[in-house]
Structures are given as structure tokens and as C-alpha cells.
């Protein structure tokens, strides 16, 4: 997020797109409700009628996967009506003419034909966003889980830069992170592209920095992202995997082919809390500690590094991941932290080593968080107070890059055999693949199992009744689920939560990823439905 969470309540306008905030980020949704109570305008763009959509001044119920068309038309209206902040564009951005050309033909009428959103609503949303001070954009996986996810994000950043809604309190571009430490895992360098602090692996100076800290050469060969790993796994290119805390056989797209590929690995080592579907296939299963059983830090969506503290001991012989990883490093002849004996290692020392190689976190330490509470990076020195919102006085990279984007449809669209568009997502009462939440009966009382939302007219068409059972199928597989007949979804669209191993939504989803990030297209594939 470029803004802090506490700034949401003071916004004049919230543009929430591809985020079912009340269910996926309930506490941020409370801040949004507070802003609306105060008089802020709310625009929600989502294919489903979400709870927040019911509160919106404008709910743009677009067809799944047509975000680029919608957002290009909004940019078109802003430029056609001269609502852009030309001063900001001239001073702080580059590539303006290319974007002006790219959106020139994207009239709201053209976008209406693709998105299904009335042209007048698109124009109204564009005007409202462009002309309201302190306007913030908030998005989640509805934007990124597409083969054109990066394009979607560029469209949003174009809107931000064209209107100058950046570098101020309550105005900016705010991805809401889905897991507790998505932000921190990337910050810490657990990505093939970046070393800690977003220093590129292909930058020799960055490699030299950590090579010096580790006393081992940082490899320069390009690494695989998760989506590419799954492709390599299917193709037999991967031989050994260490998997920490992810049930890839449930959570990855198009999981049917993965079962076989995983069983053919030379080595599979799983570190987890529970005997997951993936752990059942492993050669070695290492029992890990849960969040309340260990010390360390998580970094939230607003870049705030906060402490995780041990409250209870792990069960049996379970150990925190950091101890397990330190033991494996030691066996490889690498000191987990340079100059510290593994037996005396603490999470504070690990953080210190990580921070020593990057300005972004150099001023942050466990000791400081103990004294002052969570700190938001960038925080370059021990006396720096941290940064609540980014890009003050102009974009951090110098000039904000406007990126022209061409609309590309989703990879798999409904046809005669697979007539429905299937989208997946989260509910309030469960979390990811529910390894944790299915063990809480009070949550199961509300959502005991998997269901599919079907529009009433589709329900009559396919002979489905509310509360009955249905088989949902795609080219890749089929699952059986309860039927929820609901006007929350559009005609021709069905929606499934991804939480249930017993009815794996990801037997259905398509294994096509965004070209840049590899993020899979969980939000759109073609499906059929029949009563059971």
C-alpha cells in the first residue's frame, strides 16, 4: 500500500476494485465504512454484488476479466473531458502521449459492450475519481489473479498518475495483501527476482552485497517463480522440493496433473502444521510451530513491521521454521547468521543480518519495535521514524511511468460446451485452503462446506434448486458442491470459494499465469454445471 491503513478513514473517495473487502480484509472494511459514514464517496467495481457493493455510490458490476476495458474507458473519459492533473503529469510522469494514444478509442460505449457496465456509470466513476481530492484506490486478487493481472495494475497506476492522486495522505494505490506476511515474504527476498529489500538478483552490486554478508556467492542464474515451478514440476524438470506451509496440491491451479508430478519427485520435504495433502506425499515431514508459538516479525499491507511473540509452546517436538531452516543451513556449511552460533541464534539476529544489506529496513530492529511498536519501511536509519505514505513530493523512481495497455480477453471464455464463467474467491469464515479454519467448529456452523453461487435464471435453466447439490466441471476436472441460488453473481457466471480440500476448486481452475508475475488466472475459466 502507498498509504497507511489509518488514512482510509479520512479519504474523500474510495475506489475499491477486485476486492471483497468486508470478507477478505474485515478490519480495513471497517475503516472504509467509517469513511463512508463520514461522507466519503465509494465506487466498487466487482463482478459480484459484494456487501461493500451494496454500500457504494456506484457499483460497476463488470464481466470477469474485463478490467482493462473498464479502466481504459475511465482514463479515456478523464482525458477527453480534461479532468487530468496536467501539472502533475508534466512534472512527475513520463510516457503520457503513449497512454493518451492507447486509450483514445476506449469510449465508454465500447467498454460497455465488453464489460456490461453502462457507459454512463463508467463516465460517472471516472469523473468522480478524477475530481475528488484524497481519492484512494484499493485492490486485491480480483485485479491480480488474471493472465492480464500486471496490465490491470498498470491501468490503475495510470489512473493514479493521470490524476495526481499520489504522494498525499489518503490518496494512492493500495493492494491489500491476502496473507499475513505476503508483504514481508517479498520484502525478505523469498522471490526469484529479488534479494531482500527489492534489490534485483540480476544487479551485480546487490549480489555482491549479500555475497559479502553470507560469505557465499549469490547465484546469478535466473530463478523460477511459483507458477513456473509448477510448470517445471509437471514437465519433470524439478527433482527436489522443499515446501513450507503451503498445500500446493490444493492451492495451486489445475491441481489434477500435479498429484502425479509430485509423486514422481526424487525428494519432497514438507514443513507444516498439519498432515496436508502435500505432506502425505512427502519423503520428510517436519512439524512446524504456529504463529503463537514463535518469535519474529510479520510485515502488514501498509509496510509496517510488527512483532510476533511466543505465547504458548509448540506441541510435542514441533519447532519454528527458522530453527528448521537454520539447522539445514548449518548442515550445508553456511552459518544461518554470520558469526553467530546456531545454538545461540535468535530471530532478532536474523532480522539484523537481513536489514544490514538494505536501506529500506536498515533502521528497523526487534529492539526498536519493542520500544516503539511497529515501524513502516522505508526506514533507513535508527533515528528515522518510518514512512506512512509513499511518493511524497513525486514518485520514488523519479518519474512515474505511464504504461499503455492493450485489452486482452481472459485465456478461457465460455463457449457452447462450457457455457459459464467460473470465478473463485474467499469467504469471511474461512481462510485459504482452510487447514486452520476447518478446525474451528464455530466457523463451520456458518460455512460447513463448499458451495457454488448461481444466478436464479441460470438455476432454472440448468435445473438447480437452492440448497440442492450440483456438479461443477471444467475441461480439467469436476467437483460436487451445494447450490446457493443468488443474485450476487451475474447471469452466466458462477462463483466458488477456494477453501475446501473435500471439493477442491483448483481441480477446476486453469493453469495460465500472468507473463510477468506468474500469478494464476484463478478468477476466470469456462465451466458447466448440472444437478446431482
Amino acid at each position: 500500500m502507498t498509504n497507511a491503513i489509518s488514512e482510509i478513514r479520512d479519504a474523500d473517495l474510495l475506489f475499491v476494485i477486485g476486492s471483497n473487502t468486508t470478507e477478505a480484509h474485515p478490519i480495513i472494511a471497517m475503516e472504509m465504512k467509517r469513511a463512508v459514514h463520514r461522507g466519503a464517496k465509494l465506487i466498487v467495481a466487482d463482478p459480484r454484488q459484494t456487501w461493500l457493493g451494496g454500500w457504494a455510490d456506484l457499483h460497476l458490476q463488470l464481466w470477469p476479466g474485463t478490467d482493462v476495458a473498464l479502466l481504459s474507458a475511465m482514463a479515456h473519459v478523464i482525458l477527453a473531458e480534461g479532468l487530468q492533473d496536467q501539472g502533475y503529469i508534466d512534472t512527475h510522469t513520463e510516457n503520457f502521449e503513449a497512454v493518451r494514444a492507447a486509450v483514445a478509442d476506449w469510449t465508454p460505449a465500447r467498454a460497455e459492450a465488453i464489460t456490461g457496465v453502462p457507459a454512463a456509470d463508467i463516465a460517472a466513476a471516472a469523473r468522480l475519481y478524477a475530481t475528488t481530492p484524497r481519492a484512494g484506490i484499493y485492490y486485491t486478487l480480483g485485479i491480480t489473479e488474471h493472465t492480464h493481472g500486471t496490465d490491470n495494475v498498470f491501468c490503475l497506476s495510470n489512473l493514479v498518475l493521470l490524476t495526481g492522486h499520489l504522494g498525499q495522505r489518503s490518496a494512492g494505490l493500495n493492494p491489500l495483501r491476502g496473507q499475513n506476511n505476503v508483504q514481508g515474504a517479498n520484502d525478505s527476498g523469498a522471490t526469484p527476482v529479488f534479494l531482500p529489500g527489492y534489490q534485483r538478483v540480476d544487479d551485480p552490486a546487490a549480489r555482491a552485497r549479500y555475497s559479502a554478508i553470507w560469505g557465499r556467492e549469490v547465484p546469478s542464474a535466473k530463478g523460477l517463480n511459483l507458477n513456473q515451478m509448477m510448470h517445471e514440476l509437471r514437465d519433470g524438470g524439478l527433482k527436489a522440493m522443499l515446501v513450507i506451509g503451503e498445500d500446493i496440491l490444493v492451492s495451486e491451479p489445475d491441481v489434477a496433473g500435479l498429484d502425479r508430478a509430485v509423486s514422481e519427485l526424487d525428494a519432497l520435504i514438507v514443513v507444516d502444521l498439519f498432515m496436508t495433502e502435500t505432506a502425505k506425499q512427502a519423503d520428510v515431514v517436519l512439524p512446524a510451530a504456529a504463529f503463537a508459538e514463535k518469535d519474529g516479525t510479520f510485515t502488514n499491507s501498509e509496510r509496517r513491521v510488527q512483532r510476533v511473540r511466543q505465547a504458548v509452546p509448540p506441541p510435542g517436538q514441533a519447532r519454528p521454521d527458522w530453527q528448521i531452516l537454520a539447522a539445514l543451513l548449518e548442515r550445508s556449511g553456511v552459518e544461518p547468521v554470520r558469526g553467530v552460533a546456531t545454538s545461540a541464534l535468535t530471530p532478532a539476529q536474523i532480522y539484523e543480518e537481513m536489514a544490514s544489506g538494505t536501506d529500506k529496513f536498515a533502521g528497523i530492529s526487534h529492539a526498536r519495535i519493542e520500544r516503539e511498536g511497529g515501524l513502516q519501511w522505508p526506514c533507513p536509519t535508527a533515528d528515522h521514524k518510518g514512512t506512512d505514505f509513499l511518493h511524497q513530493g513525486g514518485p520514488m523512481r523519479g518519474k512515474g511511468l505511464l504504461v499503455p495497455v492493450n485489452y486482452r480477453p481472459s485465456v478461457e471464455r465460455p463457449d457452447a460446451d462450457w457455457p459459464l464463467c467460473l470465478s473463485t474467491g474467499r469467504t469471511l469464515y474461512h481462510y485459504n485452503v482452510a487447514t486452520q479454519t476447518k478446525r474451528e467448529q464455530g466457523l463451520l456452523d456458518r460455512h460447513p462446506g463448499c458451495f457454488v453461487e448461481v444466478h436464479p435464471d441460470d438455476a432454472s435453466r440448468y435445473g438447480l434448486r437452492d440448497g440442492g447439490r450440483a456438479e461443477v466441471s471444467t475441461r480439467r476436472g469436476a467437483i460436487e458442491v451445494d447450490v446457493h441460488v443468488s443474485e450476487r453473481v451475474q447471469l452466466g457466471m458462477i462463483w466458488l470459494p477456494m477453501h475446501f480440500a473435500e471439493a477442491r476448486a483448483n481441480l477446476l481452475t486453469i493453469d495460465a499465469g500472468d507473463e510477468v508475475t506468474g500469478t494464476a488466472e484463478y478468477k476466470v475459466c469456462a465451466a458447466a454445471i448440472a444437478p446431482r
Partner: protein
Amino acid sequence: MPDDARKLYRAEQDVVPAPGASTTLTVHIDGQPRTAVEGETLLQVARRAGCDVPTLCHDERLQPTGACRMCLVESSDSRRLVPSCRHPVADGQQVQTASARVLRHRQALLALYAADQPEQIVPGSELEVAMRRHGVAEGVPSVSSARAGRPEDANRFIQFQPDRCILCARCTRYCDEVEAVAAIAVGHRGPQTTIVTADMRGLLDTTCELCGGCVDTCPTGALVEKKAAPRQMELASLPTVRTTCGYCGVGCQMDLSVDREKGQIVRVQSPPPGTTTNDGNLCVKGRFATGYVGHPDRLTVPLLRDRTTGQLVPSTWDEALDRAHSLLVDAKARHGAHALAFISSSRATNEENYLAQKLARAAFGTNNCHQCAAT
């Protein structure tokens, strides 16, 4: 100010003038001149000045109602005592927060609240803290009488004990103003007045999202976490550990009350409003879904695949780590570093993610390290 009061009042001490507010006023609190901003209440200024003004119906996230009368103070602009939580500041006001008249009112009121509670007041509740700090007038006999309630319901998280309810309506206002689902309301009349749901249904059959904010804001313990209810009287004496929620990316701070002997989390509370990013709020998962932590399904010993039977069998840590390490080393030797993949976790800590990529890069020479972070 005593420590427990400081904890309750920290939020108000942090109050800063709203952006754009320009009119600065001077208010005399207990004889001392204090700076205030137009639109502030006497309570905000008094607490910022360190005065110990008790409240029961006040929650800074909610519109003030002045219902409980605990915050009455003397103000030069009124003949009667005024509820400071909703009395606006005015330039030159003379305010007394601890005069004999104010104290007499305060103690009498507390005695009346106490008289209508069942035997023991819940330790650590705002009511109990206020009684302990401000004293209770003598001579008010217990008039405790059964209150109207609603039938016990099937939800497993939130329990309502009508006998402890003082009808301050913090729970219903929270449900309406903050969570904005309006599942509960004050209903019925006279002595039958209580906290109701539509048609007195169980919470699972209402718009309730089970966030439990009503429990956190209740000043008397009339609302309690159902699982912790049998231990309600000892909850305040349990040690607490401040940590960060492990579910979504908001990073809510939470205080875990811990039974150290049993190694159990007894309940989860939010830190006070105004002190952390979550501003006193938690959602259903953060507050109530920690049962997995001590669940019997947890893995408790390392397991190795037996090469003859093909079954996973328990092993020691040393055996398991040696095997894990040699499997990775062998695979690299046979197929090269590019045939290895390290999937770290966006659920794990920063320190753990750092060590995971260090293991991939420094120990095994590959950048094949990623995790399930799609946003």
C-alpha cells in the same frame, strides 16, 4: 493516574487537533489552563490533562450518548453537572472533575450499578476498575434482580449474560456504527429492556458476522467469549502476550490471554482503540479462530518415508534433518541446482523467509525460491 486507568485512557491522550481545525480555546480543568480545539469534548481535554474521569458507556469509536452518567463534571456553563463525554469545550470554561459534588455523584452512581449486578463484579471489567478506583457509596443494598434476556443460542463464540447488562448500548452501537451489520439492538421496555436480535433469533440466524467487537467493548462482562466464559472471573489475572494476527494482511495486533500451565490460549482481545492499526477491532477469524493452534491434528514429531514399507514413520529431528539435507544434496549432485525448488511461505515470519531464500541461494546455489504471494 493508575496503570489500569492509563491503559484504558491511552487513546484519549493521543488526541491531536483534527486537520483543518484552527480555533484554539483555553479551558480550565481543575484550575489549570488547558489548550483545546473547537469540536472537542470536555472528556477528551480532561483525559489529555491526565484527569481520571471514569466512563462506562463511552467508546471513542462511537458517537457519545452520555447515557451512563459516570463522566459527570462541573462546568461553569451549566447549573447542573454535565456528561463530559458529550459536552463541547468553550473558551474560558471552568471545569471541576473531582470536586466533592462530582465525587458524591460518582460514588452513588457506582453503588447503584453495583447493586444491580450478580454477586461478584467481573474483575478487570471497566465497571470493576471504576469501582476499585473511585470507591462506592455506602448504604445502597443489593437490589440485584433477574433481567430479561434472550434464549441461549447455538453460536459458539459469543455469550450474553443479561444479569450483568447495564444497558449502556455500547455493543449495539458498535454493531451498528463500526461493524455496520446492526445484528443486535436495545429492545422491549421498562424492566424487560434488554439486548435483542430480530425475533430473538440466535446470532447465527442474524446479520451478525461474529466479529466479537461487542464482547470487547462491553464494560461489565455481560458479553463474554463463550469458550472463556467458565473462567470469566480469572481472565483478568491471566498473563497476556501482544502479537500479530496470522490470517490476512492487515496485521491486527492482538493480546492473547494465556494459561501458562496448560500452554493454552484462553481468549484473544484487541488492544485498546487508538493504540494500534486495528483501532480496537478484530474479525471473527482473528478473535475466535485460534483453535487450530492447540488442535489434536497438529504434527508433533518429524516423519520419514520408510524405504521398504513406503509409510511415513516417526523419527528424531537429527535423522529427519540429515535425510532432508542429503535428499537435497543428492538431487543437486544428480540434476543440478536448477532442479531444486524452495517454496517459502507468506504465512511465515520475515526471519524465516530470509533464511529460506538464504538456504536456496547460499547453500544450494539457486534462485528457485518463491512463495504463494500473488498480490
